[in-house]
């Protein structure tokens, strides 16, 4: 008895050590990015490198926050991510309800259709999107990004909402309808409040995906005033005089919204995130 106790406490110590090492692997690049964002540019490639800055400065951040071009990237990212997330969640709730609560002809095929649309490589869609966006005079507009991003977020969002609704008893909304409530009433007043964790997971997923998207934004917009954060960062990388500290500062600031959202909602997010990929 004593020996197993000792061996489990020793195992526990080993697990902690390995967890700390794993944590370093995950965190170090992020930490390094932060440490580079608070020192002057000349210190970035000093050899040997120093962990802490020799001269601490917040100038990279003030440079980003005082630059209207950079601020515009943030504004664009917020507009696009918020509109896409809101539309995705609404459409996914409706479709998830349909898939979860009804048996109808073609259900299996439509469900398979939703799953398979996820398999289409976005790079394949990019070519026809470009021609469609030009043809509909939507090139370099928010609408082009709204429409194309919804297609990226929607399939997985539908699967997430369907599997969340499936965990809630059907008898509940049937009881509401027997009492004279309509289907929409059952959905919005009963099911939606109960499904809040699933909805939060879907929201975070959609926001993250649309905030972080790069290829469509690169190709379907052109003017600097229409660029989103990821494209803005890549534009800085293309410049001749690399201001690494400013690039790191804008990367930190550009990741902050999704980072905060993730930290706040991570509780709901984890179970929801996998529910669309793997059936249990």
């Amino acid at each position: 008895m004593k020996s197993t106790k000792q061996s489990t406490s020793r195992a526990r110590v080993i697990v902690y050590i390995l967890l700390v090492l794993s944590g370093l692997f995950a965190l170090f690049p992020v930490l390094w990015m932060f440490l580079m964002s608070i020192r002057p540019n000349v210190e970035i490639f000093k050899w040997p490198p120093t962990f802490l800055p020799e001269e601490f400065t917040l100038e990279p951040y003030t440079k980003v926050l005082n630059n209207s071009t950079y601020l515009r990237f943030f504004f664009n990212s917020y507009i696009v991510a918020l509109v896409v997330t809101f539309s995705t969640v609404i459409v996914a709730i409706l479709a998830g309800y349909g898939f979860s609560r009804f048996n109808f002809r073609g259900k299996k095929i439509l469900n398979l259709f939703v799953v398979s649309t996820q398999m289409i490589p976005p790079i394949t869609l990019l070519i026809p999107y470009f021609s469609m966006v030009v043809a509909f005079r939507l090139f370099d507009t928010y609408t082009a990004l709204f429409l194309t991003y919804i297609v990226l977020t929607l399939p997985y969002a539908i699967l997430m909402m369907t599997s969340y609704f499936n965990t809630i008893s059907k008898e509940l909304d049937e009881a509401v309808m027997i009492d004279g409530g309509s289907r929409f009433y059952a959905l919005w007043r009963i099911l939606v409040p109960l499904s809040l964790p699933g909805i939060i997971a879907t929201t975070v997923f959609s926001f993250l995906l649309s905030w972080n998207e790069f290829a469509f934004a690169l190709t379907l917009t052109k003017s600097t005033s229409m660029r989103t954060i990821p494209v803005g960062i890549s534009l800085l990388m293309g410049q001749h005089a690399y201001e690494w500290n400013v690039m790191m500062a804008i990367s930190i600031l550009g990741s902050a919204p999704v980072l905060l959202l993730y930290l706040v909602a991570q509780r709901y997010f984890l179970s929801g995130m996998t529910s669309g990929a793997i059936k249990e």
């Binding site: 526990r12 902690y16 390995l18 967890l19 794993s22 944590g23 995950a26 690049p29 390094w32 490639f45 459409v91 409706l94 479709a95 349909g98 898939f99 609560r101 009804f102 048996n103 109808f104 002809r105 398979l112 799953v115 649309t117 398999m119 289409i120 490589p121 976005p122 790079i123 394949t124 070519i127 026809p128 470009f130 021609s131 469609m132 030009v134 194309t148 297609v151 929607l154 289907r183 972080n212 998207e213 790069f214 290829a215 190709t219 954060i229 960062i233 890549s234 990388m237 790191m248 990367s251 550009g254 999704v258 980072l259 984890l270 995130m273 996998t274 990929a277 793997i278 059936k279 249990e280």
Partner: protein
Amino acid sequence: MKIASRSLKNQLVAYRFIAPAIMLLVLLMVYPMILVIWNSFFSNYIIDPSPKWVGFEHYRWALTNDVFIRAFSNTMVFTVSSVILHLTIGLAFALLLNYPINRYAQTFFRVLLILPWVFTVAVVAIVWRLLLDPLGIVNYILSIMGFVEPGLTWFGSPERALPALILTNAWGGYPFIMVSLLAGLQGIPNILYEAATIDGANSLQKFLYITIPQLRPVILSIGLLDFIWTYRLFELVWLTTGGGPGRSTEILGTYIYKLAFSQYQFSRASAVAVILSLTTLVLAVFYLKAQRMND
């Protein structure tokens, strides 16, 4: 009769709920797919005002083209290595996170280990370009340990650019796999382990004869999904090496993008994109089969 009409009405109600989603997906996925396939059979798309039908000419061109073959083999090397690394790191971290330790410590490490997943690919690319710079921290650490000479190039070297990309992608891509495997681990009934303990099995035996067989369906599904996602990658390579130096990191994604948006060969790009999609389709069929196995 009444029941039949009610269920018919019910069906119509169901379609009303699903219609917005299906309409969006048809308009913005099915229609563009038809466009890209159709236009891959014409001389040039978008640029050419009166494109001529050329049949399978672009496909023949692609499949006999050295750059395509190079891009395809790079894609396979990149994808297979990435998936193996993702599954290995993901499983190792998931096992650590599943070990019964203090609940708060467990949550803390879980949140920490998912962190790389929230960053946009542009940030991942820029950070790893900094880390793997000839004068970067990775070279510094490796050089004081005596592994490399200071000033070694990674993304700028034809031999080391692909390994550097695989490393970068391993960091950015393992969390989703880890979370899925963790969910799988938590679904394994505890009673199996208890029974094995009574039978005198050690930890390694439990891992080999309970954990791995129980996780097999999840590993298969998530491995295939990761393969599908990595196989079509474009952004990370575009933002770090752009496919270079030379063609040493050219993958199908960057090749398609360059054909279309740098060389304006939209129909040739479409043909390569269709080949990419068709090969994905084969993988997708396996994925759906694996999913059905889980039911």
